[in-house]
């Protein structure tokens, strides 16, 4: 399977040139770009590891791409995403978030059904990969 979190996951993987164009769009809006990575792709894992702080004063997309490439080199089999933050009043939140690296093999998730009272079921989503300890997944 292919996990489809992020803004462009239904498209073919973005090339470095296409990634640069999206970063440039974010910078043009006045947003700060950052890079994050993880080997725990649970849909509610909100806090991926930060590849440094958001690049608040960066103006040139090429600089941000350098960080993407460095993160890829350090974590080639992890999920890596580019995020853009907007500090404008009324937003003060993420405005764009897209995956720029993913493991070659994505085993996906199991759905655990705990059958409780009546016909109720409590659902838990478990990433098969994340059953191994952190750092030893997707090897």
């Amino acid at each position: 399977m292919k996990i489809t979190q992020g803004t462009f996951s239904f498209l073919p993987d973005l090339t470095d040139k296409e990634i640069t164009a999206q970063i440039q769009y974010a910078l043009d809006q006045g947003w700060a770009v950052s890079v994050e990575y993880t080997d725990d792709p649970h849909p509610r894992n909100y806090f991926w590891e930060m590849w440094g702080n958001p690049m608040f004063d960066l103006k040139d997309a090429a600089g941000a791409l350098t960080e993407v490439l460095a993160a890829r080199k350090a974590h080639p089999s992890n999920y890596i995403r580019v995020m853009a933050f907007d500090a404008t009043l009324g937003f003060e939140t993420t405005r764009l978030s897209f995956i720029v690296n993913r493991p070659k093999d994505e085993p996906g998730y199991g759905l655990v059904r705990q059958e409780v009272d009546g016909r109720n079921i409590r659902y838990t989503i478990e990433s098969y990969a994340a059953k191994a300890p952190e750092g030893r997944r997707y090897t």
């Binding site: 399977m1 996990i3 489809t4 979190q5 803004t7 462009f8 996951s9 239904f10 498209l11 073919p12 296409e18 164009a21 999206q22 769009y25 792709p41 649970h42 849909p43 509610r44 909100y46 995020m83 853009a84 009043l89 009324g90 937003f91 003060e92 939140t93 993420t94 405005r95 764009l96 978030s97 897209f98 996906g108 998730y109 199991g110 759905l111 016909r119 109720n120 079921i121 409590r122 659902y123 989503i125 990433s127």
Partner: protein, 479 residues
């Protein structure tokens, strides 16, 4: 006016003379202001008609009463202070009326509306009356909770940014069993939609009781989430005959892990505010279907404009509201719809007469409502939808998903690919309004579901003249 003794002499007196018309009145920052479209009966002067509306929507009755003299009555009298002819509509007037804050109970849409649209709409000296817009003072707004979640927090919870959200309403509306219904939900979510939705009249009928629907839908949501790695949702409609039933349904939705519930506008303002408080307490996104609004919002001569309903609903506190598509099957003039979207999404909405917005409106930090575009839209219109409606919107393709020739999953995938490819192109600086069809055609070369969607619905448009349009057109000004 003369002496108080003359003013309060028993009998009938024109409203304008009773203190409901004041051409020199300057509205205070704390006043509620309403602008009405009035159509006086033949022979009724427009200023007297405006004063009558001010009187009947505040403290007046048809005759002088001495008990006014026991009150600080001037404070309670709404003041009509301006009457303008409606451009291009002889016999109609825009009448501006200001109400002191003391007229209203804090945090109650029911109380606000009982004044503003209470008896006055049946008042005989008027042929017709329409509430066009309102300016709500910050002081009054701060007594309302507003949306329980809001656009920003909803996106953070869903972890979805940078593009409109995608939804669909399960079809057919009636007759599916819970199990068959859940099948549609699963297929659409797995194929790429973020949300599926109950229709407004899906409650608990003989063919599908509500508990059955909830159980099968949440199985579908959980399974689709596991299949994609995304947060997914189904708007479970909790609309029912009593508040007790609605709370019971909402509690069950929460127990099953649903991220979102739904209500219909027809449950009434107080019920909406109650469900909003429930949603805030229970971390639930609250979707509002505007069932019934067309009975009083569509015709321009009489009723309440939808931009006012949108304001009330932002105050009452809903997270989603159906607000028009422009290109789809339901009523929607582009300018009027843009005005309504501004009311839902702005931190500060600027006066814009071309879009039907009569006042600046400071939203005082009230959270933003996600507009929902639903009804007769399809993937081939993606460039138009994004251009008109922007990014913070739920695009709902019901027929455009479920009616896809290759199946529901393929229909959902076609919509998601069309959306992502169009956002990507826009961000790259392409002119999607003009290049949109070409951008879709390029993607259809590698995405066969999109190709099939484009072939199936290529010529479908709903090009009818709008009924609810703005009255002001731009005129060239010397620079």
């Amino acid at each position: 006016m003369g002496s108080p003794a003359d003013r309060y002499k028993s009998g009938v007196m024109p409203y304008a003379k009773m203190g409901y018309w004041d051409a020199d009145y300057e509205p205070k920052d704390t006043d509620v202001i309403a602008v009405f479209r009035i159509t006086p009966q033949d022979g009724v002067d427009e200023i007297e008609a405006a004063a009558a509306v001010a009187g009947e929507s505040s403290t007046a009755t048809w005759t002088v009463v001495w008990t006014d003299r026991l009150t600080a009555c001037d404070l309670y009298r709404a003041k009509a202070y301006r009457v303008d002819p409606v451009p291009g509509n002889p016999g109609q007037f825009f009448s501006y009326i200001a109400y002191d804050l003391a007229l209203f109970e804090e945090g109650s849409i029911a109380n606000l509306t009982a004044s503003i649209i209470g008896n006055v709409f049946g008042f005989k000296p008027l042929k017709a009356l329409r509430l066009e817009d309102m300016r709500i003072p910050v002081a009054y707004l701060k007594t309302f909770q507003g949306p329980p979640t809001g656009i920003v927090v909803e996106r953070e919870r869903l972890d979805k940014f940078g593009r409109p959200l995608l939804g669909a309403t399960t079809k057919p509306k009636l007759g599916l069993s819970g199990k068959n219904y859940g099948r549609v939900v699963y297929e659409a979510l797995k194929g790429g939609l973020d949300f599926v939705k109950d229709d407004e009249n899906i409650n608990s009928q003989p063919f599908m009781h509500w508990r059955d629907r909830y159980l099968f839908c949440m199985e579908a949501v959980a399974k689709a989430s596991a299949a994609t790695g995304e947060v997914k949702g189904h708007y479970l409609n909790v609309t029912a005959g009593t508040m007790e039933d609605m709370y019971e349904r909402a509690d069950f939705a929460k127990q099953l892990g649903s991220a979102i519930i739904m209500i219909d506008l027809v449950i009434g303002y107080t019920a909406i505010q109650s469900m909003s408080k429930w949603a805030r307490r229970n971390d639930m996104v609250l979707h509002l279907h505007r069932a019934g609004h067309g009975t009083y919002t569509r015709q321009k001569s009489h009723g309440v404009s939808f931009r006012v309903i949108a304001k009330w609903m932002r105050m009452a506190g809903v997270d989603h509201i159906h607000a028009g598509t422009i290109v789809g099957k339901l009523e929607g003039d582009p300018n009027v719809i843009k005005g309504i979207y501004s009311i839902c999404r702005d931190s500060f909405t600027k006066k814009n007469l071309e879009q039907g917005v009569f006042f600046d409106q400071d939203w005082a930090g009230l959270r933003k409502v996600m507009p929902v575009a639903s009804g007769g839209i399809h993937a081939g219109q993606m460039h138009q939808l994004i251009t008109y409606l922007g990014e913070d919107v739920v695009l709902q393709f019901g027929g455009g998903t479920i009616g896809h020739p290759q199946g529901i999953q393929a229909g959902a995938t076609a919509n998601r690919v069309a959306l992502e490819v169009m956002i990507k192109a826009r961000n790259e600086g392409r002119d999607i309004w003009n290049e949109g069809p070409q951008i879709l055609a390029e993607a259809a070369k590698w995405c066969s579901p999109l190709n099939a969607a484009l072939q199936t619905w290529k010529d479908v448009t709903f090009d009818y003249t709008s009924t609810d349009t703005a009255d002001f057109v731009p005129t060239a000004t010397a620079s």
